[in-house]
């Protein structure tokens, strides 16, 4: 129960008005202060973190230093610890940023002090550093971090503690940890649950957060009917295969590798790289292409982007313009088609309006797409290879004029830092990732509040 709200209720009853106002002011003064301290304590997110309905009393319910000198020292220590924790990670990171080093830092902190002093700040610092160490999607690491909290200290022991917000900073820190897991799509396991119960008790805010995650995550786990695999294949050919199958969405479609990527040394000693050319075509598309009027040109168009998690790949299509209305041939009904029953009735009756449940759909006439391909090098020579490969299975293509309508577009954007031809990894730049994560943070908080 929030103190301010309590007071407001009192106000509504109508007595103690002046003192109430003072109290409210006091609370208002205090709240930004706490928020400020939070920001200084951990600047993971560029905004004030979501708070429980903190009250001055609760704020005080932290382990209160007994004498002022110690309090002062403590504050210095805290300030220091803020630096040291970050520093600790930085120092370790000089060697290598891996899961092992991260775990070592956590171990060092846990062993240093039996009371785990400054663990909240440490956990905030650790959460912030996780993506740097590449452990932001590792459940065991999150559990290890949870384990940093001292056990049983924050579990409310009587109904009054239970009623008010017991150890709000710690609970908030626990919730923050769970929230980071949520943002990265990591589902806590039984171990996390046991830890939370040990640390905060079974009706605490982190526990509620845990329960909410466990309610929604499984429900949404399979919400996407077209899931992208967590681990995308490294090999560009395999990646192209996967992407093409994803675009085509036709179980009959067949992927053909027209050229494997390879490097060759020419006679003059130059190194020549052959890009991979992978195409896909379904039997329906082959049929369409066979029916295509050879006097009308077909177009090779692209590149078009396709995003797979953090990778962007580009594909090209072979298409034609939609048929002009005068060339359209209606499939006429052949009465000598079926030996056993009439395929059409010779009646002058149409479907009744009441039984016509079709929607009024505006059909936009689009030209047919005959095939798609992916290659690392979108120049005409490479794409020509694809077209000549297609000609083997589609003889009509030899008689149809083929026009290349290629855009240079996104190729320029990629720049020099292109890791592999044809696709690039955007997650390379740290800053960019952080922005993404942060945005996610804000979004999720906005929703939750």
């Amino acid at each position: 129960m929030n103190c301010a709200r309590c007071l407001l209720r009192l106000q509504s009853v109508g007595f103690l008005a002046p003192s109430v106002r003072a109290a409210v002011q006091h609370a208002a003064l205090l709240q930004p202060a706490t928020a400020l301290s939070q920001i200084t304590a951990h600047n993971t997110c560029g905004q004030a973190l979501r708070r429980f309905h903190g009250s001055p009393g609760c704020y005080k319910s932290q382990p209160v230093p007994t004498d002022p000198g110690e309090e002062h020292e403590d504050r210095i220590k805290k300030d220091k610890s803020l630096i040291t924790h970050d520093d600790l990670f930085e120092r370790v990171a000089r060697e290598a940023k891996t899961k092992a080093t991260f775990n070592r830092v956590v171990d060092v902190f846990s062993k240093r002090d039996i009371r785990r002093r400054g663990h909240v700040e440490f956990i905030y610092a650790a959460l912030k550093k996780m993506p740097e160490f590449g452990v932001e999607r590792d459940l065991t690491v999150y559990n290890k971090l949870l384990d940093v909290f001292p056990k049983e200290v924050f579990v409310p022991r009587n109904f009054i503690q239970r009623m008010f917000n017991h150890y709000p900073r710690q609970q908030e820190c626990g919730v923050q940890l769970l929230e980071q897991m949520e943002n990265y799509g990591i589902m806590p396991n039984v171990e996390s649950k046991v830890l939370i119960v040990q640390i905060f008790g079974d009706k605490s805010h982190p526990m509620r957060k845990y329960q909410r995650i466990m309610y929604w995550f499984p429900k949404f786990k399979h919400a996407n009917p077209f899931p992208v695999p967590l681990q995308l294949p490294e090999d560009p050919v395999d990646l192209a295969r996967l992407s093409l199958n994803r675009i085509a969405n036709d179980l009959d479609a067949k992927v053909t590798v027209y050229q494997m990527p390879c490097t060759d040394i020419s006679e003059s000693g130059e190194e020549i790289t052959f890009p991979h050319v992978v195409g896909i075509q379904s039997p329906d598309q082959m049929e369409l292409l066979a029916k295509h009027n050879p006097n009308r040109p077909v177009f090779v168009e692209g590149p078009f982007p396709l995003w797979l998690r953090k990778i962007c790949v580009y594909y090209y299509i072979l298409r034609a313009d939609p048929l002009p209305p005068e060339e359209k041939v209606e499939d006429s009904y052949d009465p000598e088609r079926c030996f056993d029953y009439p395929l059409q009735l010779d009646l002058d009756l149409d479907r009744d309006m009441g039984d016509d449940d079709s929607f009024d759909v505006e059909d936009v006439d689009e030209g047919p797409v005959f095939a798609m391909c992916m290659t690392s090098q979108g120049d005409q020579a490479t794409l020509n290879q694809w077209i000549s490969g297609l000609q083997e299975t589609n003889p009509t293509l030899g008689r149809v004029p083929t026009l290349f309508r290629l855009e240079a577009g996104p190729r320029e954007l990629q720049g020099v830092a292109d890791p592999g031809p044809g696709y690039r990894e955007e997650g390379e730049e740290e800053a960019e990732t952080d922005i993404v994560v942060e945005e996610e943070h804000q979004r999720s908080q906005g929703v939750k509040q």
Binding site: M187, N189, M214, F217, P218, K221, H222, L251, D334, P335, E336, R337, C338, F339, D340, Y341, P342, L343, Q344, L345, D346, L347, D348, L349, D350, R351, D352, G354, D355
Partner: protein
Amino acid sequence: MNINRLIALSKSVQFGKILTSNARHATKEVNLPHRTIRTHARNLAYAKDLFLGKVNKAECFPYPEIGNEELEEINSFVAPVEKFFTEEVDSKRIDHEAKIPPETLNGLKELGLFGIQVPEEYGGLGLSNTMYARLGEIISLDGSIAVTLAAHQAIGLKGILIAGSEEQKAKYLPKLASGEHVAAFCLTEPGSGSDAASIQTKATLSEDRKTYLLNGSKIWISNGGFADLMTVFARTEVVGEDGVKKDKITAFIVERAFGGITSGKPEDKLGIRGSNTCEVSFDNCPVPVENVIGEVGGGFKVAMNILNSGRFSMGSAGSGMIKKLIEMTAEYAGSRKQFGKNLSEFGMIQEKFAVMAQNAFVMESMAYLTAGMMDRPGVPDCSLEAAMVKVSDLLPIGCLIVVCVVVSKLNDGIGVLIGYAVVGEQGVQERTKHTPLRCPSVEDQRGGCVVAYPTPTLTNVFSSEGGWICVSEALQVLGGLGYTKNYPYERYLRDCRILLIFEGTNEILRMYIALTGMQYAGKILTGKIKEMKKGNVGVAFEMLGRKLGDALGRKVDLGLTGMDGVVHPGLADSAKKLEQNVAHFGSTVENLLYRYGKTIVEEQLILKRVADVLINLYAMTAVLSRSSRSISIGLRNHDHEVLLANTFCTDAFFKNNYWLTQLQRNSPENQDENIKKIAREVLEKRTYVCSHPLDRTF
């Protein structure tokens, strides 16, 4: 009945000679009124009239009978055949070796079973459909033999019989009838069975215009391994009326001796293992132009007529098999003890026998009613014009192909009558005359070909499915023993599975049954429905009044019982049920046409129910007609028949009611949308969609 017969008798003297080419019939015609011609216009459209909610009782009542002499004739045929099948045929061995031994085949030839329906002048037995059905009951005791014979005569040589010229008949039929030559029917090609577009075999005319060269291959050809003569369908180039060259299908008689024919390895099948099914390929096989059946480019009609007529061959097969099974199984159930009681004392076992008896009874009734209708001569008149005008009445129902009118459609309603063929059991009578005439009443015109209505098809669907259920129930009575090869049940089970598949799968046949009727009803009701849609108050009130009447439980009286009734009073309740169903069916059909119009072709689930109801209605008619006759003339055990008939009719009545309810708009019983959705989702993924019940998400 008697008056009809008298008329028929007197007319037969006049017309018998004209239309009967069968020598034997010519001599016996006075004694055999059933095989001759009646001249008054008869309305044959029984099943079609059901679509309009009418019962044409003259059509199915009384149950068709045969004369005493014919009965003796049949019995004299049946006795040796039955003896042969029980003593000489070793079905187990045929099944095991996947081959019919030559001595068995020779025995069949000696009995004349290769030419059951070939006219006697060509050396066949020249039996009527009724007699054929009777023999079919026995032949079906061995599935492999039944299929071999059916492939030979029900479809293999039918082309020559229906549409062949005199020379072709004289040249080929005698050898085919004696079994010296075996025939096969080569239509299906890789692709699909019913789709004419899948036929890719080419016949090209040689330069001297005397021979066609056949190229291509056919699959699933019964008797394909050893047939000496084949009816082959191939594409030929035909110049159409508008001068454009088109590929059209033509039928050819191809002898194996022509050369260029190779047969593939026999298929290894689930059942009917003794019959030979294989691929046949033609490589530049020369066929003389004289061997074209019908006209060049007219193969589609020939194929369709053969297929339509061939369906009857299996009508009675099911009942023959089940009757035999009941005997065998009852023997076991009566002697086997369990918990100190006979198996036959347990209710669940008793139920199985009731099901089998009922099914056998219904199938038998349907088969012989159909055969009787087909045998009833249906050619009213010798004048072409009259025939044309009555085509709608003639075509029909019941008579397989009583009349096959070839009309080339010029424009709406006006046709040129090119040929007119009467097909009875006597073969084909052909007349050709070019008479332009108006024929607005010609319906069912597909590609200039008039189709006979499917009573045999109704029988076929019912008996194939009933047969499958009964054989499976019989096997169940024996439990584990029935599953072993020591007993013939598993073989029967395997063999009878084919009945649901060949000569058009039951799904295709249901479409045929429903759509043909819908087309007929649609033609008649179009005007009325249009008026209704325009908001004609009179028609709407009439509809409303009828619906109100139905809702208030007005009794439907279609005249089956009562003063002019044709059903015995002992079956009056069942007859009332039939009448009620028919009336309900008629209004449902009208409603469906109102709602869907010609787009009903797309609504297969609705058509399936329409076909099912129609099959049940026809089955009810058949049992009522048969049992009425049995009571009236006092046949042995007719009370049992009455019991079976009443049970079946009640059962069918409630089933029909359920289906008809499903056909109403917004009926909660109708799950079609869900069914379609389930299928769509499964087919989209091409796999079973659900997660495993043991799967977890966390």
